[in-house]
Amino acid sequence: MDIIAVESLSKHYGDKKAVDDVGFTVSKGEVFGFLGPNGAGKTTTIKVLTTLVRPTSGNVRVLGHDLRKEAKQIRNKIGVVQQQESYDQNISVEGGLDLYGFLWDVPKQKRAERVEILLKQFGLYEARKTPSLDLSIGQRRRLQVAREFMHDMDLLFLDEPTVGLDSLARRATLDFLKEKVKNGLTIFFTTHILEEAEYLCNRIAVINNGKIVTTDTPQNLKRKFGQSKSVDFKLLEGTSPELVKLIERIDDVNKIVQDVSDGAYHVTTAKPEVVIPMLYQLAARLNLHITSIYIAEPTLEDAFISILQEDKS
């Protein structure tokens, strides 16, 4: 049985097609990633799948239950970390964890055990007496993710859970989730950060403008869409807006950006062998000097951008 089975699901807000005829399935033990830019329809999809808003049309089954007829049964067995913050402002970290477990009818003894473990796992032990309102954004986010593990569930929805976390906390959170998946949890995960999707997900659906553009494993996505490589070079002169303008006009160049940290230019292209000689010619014409140049392997980010660009054209 599929944990999530979605057929031609749409959600319209007036004229706006927030989710437009999407379909996918998620099987048990999988981490399914929904990857897309802001406004793509990720949160709306989660709101529909978690029974918070009604779909405009489509068939959806979650954990074997019909979304329209058996919403209550679904809600009994899922966990949700919303994109939006959620907390009780006056209640302390440990109080909030405990109270949330209480809401889910978790026995007292079990709650106490889980609170101890989660406080440590999510780096909240020192802050455990602090009221939620006084926490930093990152701490509050960690509390929100940790809190969901106060109760048992078969399926967890995470809507950009790592936003606001520093890289250490982000990695710790992802590793915690991986561990839970090993023990049988299924996760529906949205993000606009590619490394995260690659690190955690078995399969990724790329969503844009309410539509799923493609669904595949991270490896296959890279292979299919990551043809473009990055030609990285530096100028002796540092920066040259004129050169950037000329390079942008080359047909085989997808985009050019300058790295603010070291001043290196990154040129995305499928044909480095064509682009590199032209770079030298254009530089020479402007009397500029290229001091280093090399071809970087495609990243998932490049794959993502080329998928979205193809979708646009």
């Binding site: 029974t51 809600r75 919303q82 913050e85 959620s86 907390y87 402002q89 006056n90 209640i91 109270l99």
Partner: protein
Amino acid sequence: MNVMVRLVYRNLRANLDKGSLFFELIFPLFFIFIQGAAVSGIVPPFDIGNGRVVSYSLFLAAGAVTLTVINGGTNAGTQLWFDRRHGMFEQILMGPFTRAQYIFSIIITTLIIGMAASILVFVFALPVLSGISITLQAALLTGFALFLGTIFFGAFAITLSVALKSSEAFQIISTVAFFIFLFTSSVFFPVDRAPGYIQAVSLLNPLTYTTDMFRAGLFDAATTILPLEITTLSIEAAIMFTVAVAAFRRIKV
């Protein structure tokens, strides 16, 4: 454990902070022990109905108990407001609860806070209220007054918190409404001796009826219009309750 018990306990925990407790308990006590005592020196005891003559201090003590129901009610609106603003509303609706259970739990919480605070204020006021004897009939009438008053003001605050988006608007409008309800009611003065225009507003004000019912019970001072007052307050509470439920159902997530 029962779903409603869990929700109500959570609401109580989440909303009983020191600030609102102060406002709910200390504020009425000021009226009872300072204003009531002070003004009694210049106002002679007067007839409040059924031939019952009481001092201003007693009169105001009863009013201070009923004004607590507005505070308790406002608490409901504030809770819904914060739950929506801080994402707990959605979070609860994605958990093992229904919308109806959630709003019902807010109403029960309001009743508990409103009634408990009123009773506490009443207990604190006992030194002032000494000498009154409470019959079963009186207990029922005062209890019913507090119940209806809390329902009305709880529903009113829920409606405001749904209708008003910004937190400033909610704060300002609920505070202004609070003072209007308070000062045009019979909490501080007997309405039938006030100027005509104040009487006109008072007769629409549910706090007037709550307070009159409460005093009638407490002091055994029922007037002939008491049944009419009870009916009016019941209708007002029922209408406000319906409006609140309708408003609540329209909340978009």
